[in-house]
Symmetry: C2
Subunit: 265 residues, 2 copies
């Protein structure tokens, strides 16, 4: 049997063992046994438990990233792209629960070197989602300008860069959390997870792309935190919020008691 095939068998056994039993508990003995090879051969091919685990992380990260990229279809409208990307993601995590456990639970729990491997994959996915959101915003541009021309306040349909990054982080975090939950909850299918996240995220993003933002009411000094709020910024530049957030965060933003603003910014 060629070395490459043998190695994949070892990695299959290792992903299953690490995912189900945890990195610390898993032994090289049981991985070798599950792979049907001798333990010295595992060490010969993969060097050490640490290197074997790193190889698992890289293989599973690559497979997940490719599945998501293959799922997103650039030609479709934004909501269809998001739906197909999310469906591909949840299908992959549901079909490879051990791989997902290695990436999202094990790799982040056993040291900074492994966590850094996963962080690199996550950054790639966030960048990819950021591009999708920017493309959706561009797609929505003529529609939003149309609204503004039809009598609304002149709108700048570009989302501020920091808000697009924030939305991408929120979407990826929501998807990760939901994948953990779906894999731990009997009876939840990949389609259900994707539909739940569409219900949660798309109509939100969808409204945003159409220029409809949620705004705190005028009589609200800033939510439940009262006077804690004014210097909530982490770098002391809290004052920027009034000039730099497109009017979303300031107490001076237009009120919308129904939880919606009109389609202007």
């Amino acid at each position: 049997m060629p070395r490459a095939v043998r190695e994949q068998q070892m990695l299959d056994a290792a992903v299953r063992t690490f995912g189900q039993r945890g990195y610390t508990t898993a032994s090289m003995d049981e991985i070798a046994e599950l792979a049907g090879v001798s333990k010295p051969l595992v060490y010969l091919y993969l060097n050490s438990k640490e290197d074997l685990f790193t190889a698992c992380i890289r293989r599973e990260a690559k497979a997940l990233t490719e599945a998501v990229r293959a799922g997103a279809r650039p030609g479709l409208p934004a909501d269809r792209q998001l739906w197909s990307g999310l469906t591909a993601f949840f299908t992959h995590t549901a079909r490879h629960p051990d791989g997902w456990a290695v990436l999202h639970l094990q790799a982040r729990t056993h040291g900074e070197v492994f966590a850094a491997e996963v962080a690199a994959m996550r950054a790639e996915i966030v960048a990819f989602v950021t591009q999708l959101i920017l493309a959706a915003a561009r797609e929505a541009l003529p529609r939003t300008l149309g609204c503004a021309r039809a009598g609304g306040t002149p709108a700048d349909p570009d989302l501020p860069e920091h808000e697009v990054s924030g939305l991408a982080e929120a979407l990826v975090g929501a998807a990760e959390s939901l994948a953990d939950w779906a894999n731990a909850t009997p009876g939840v299918t990949a389609r259900q997870s994707a539909a739940t996240l569409m219900n949660f995220a798309w109509t939100g993003l969808g409204d945003l792309m159409a220029g409809r933002r949620w705004s705190p009411p005028d009589d609200d000094p800033g939510g439940g935190a009262g006077d804690d709020l004014d210097d909530g910024g982490n770098d002391g530049t809290g004052g920027r919020q009034d000039t730099d957030d497109g009017g979303t965060g300031g107490a001076r933003a237009p009120a919308a008691h129904a939880g919606r603003t009109s389609p202007v910014r």
Copy 2:
């Protein structure tokens, strides 16, 4: 100086050191020096580096949970509650970046014992958010029934239990991810983070509470994953989706090419 006060000083120094330098790199020497006490006194009071770290996790978890609970105001409409809860959360994480790093990065990266401490806090917050979503759904009930009576398809305004859990997981995951990002990105205030998440989540949840769901179009066999989809369920009960998901996930759900369904379920 009373022991309790001294201990809090040691924990302050430890949270800062663990949060900024990482659990592995942080030394008891620098923690003692920052606290202005001798190293033997730290060991006398907190026993070991592991116990000191555990004490940090518990203190920071309690502070964060209390801040979120204090922020959510039961008497307000659902969107205001969510806004005030999120603002309280992001204000707390922005003001205590080292505490947040201990909880969300350090504690999850250095072993299963510490990760379990954080998982307990997270479960409490998810349960709390689940109750908020259920309360919002009850609040929306008369409105939704009104829509149905006004001529729409008869609606069951209760969200399926698994969907409420999924929404709570998505919201908590999005908030965690956004807090990491906000603390790593200069110039992002707590109010901006909360407003971004409202734009992302509330109009989504808001539509859902009003009975408007996103549905995949009829001509879509299931997103981008093609034939991967039919058995995407992780426990082989994929067939449940057609009876148990309130019509959100099945390919037979009503089409909505604009990304919205009519306000019926």
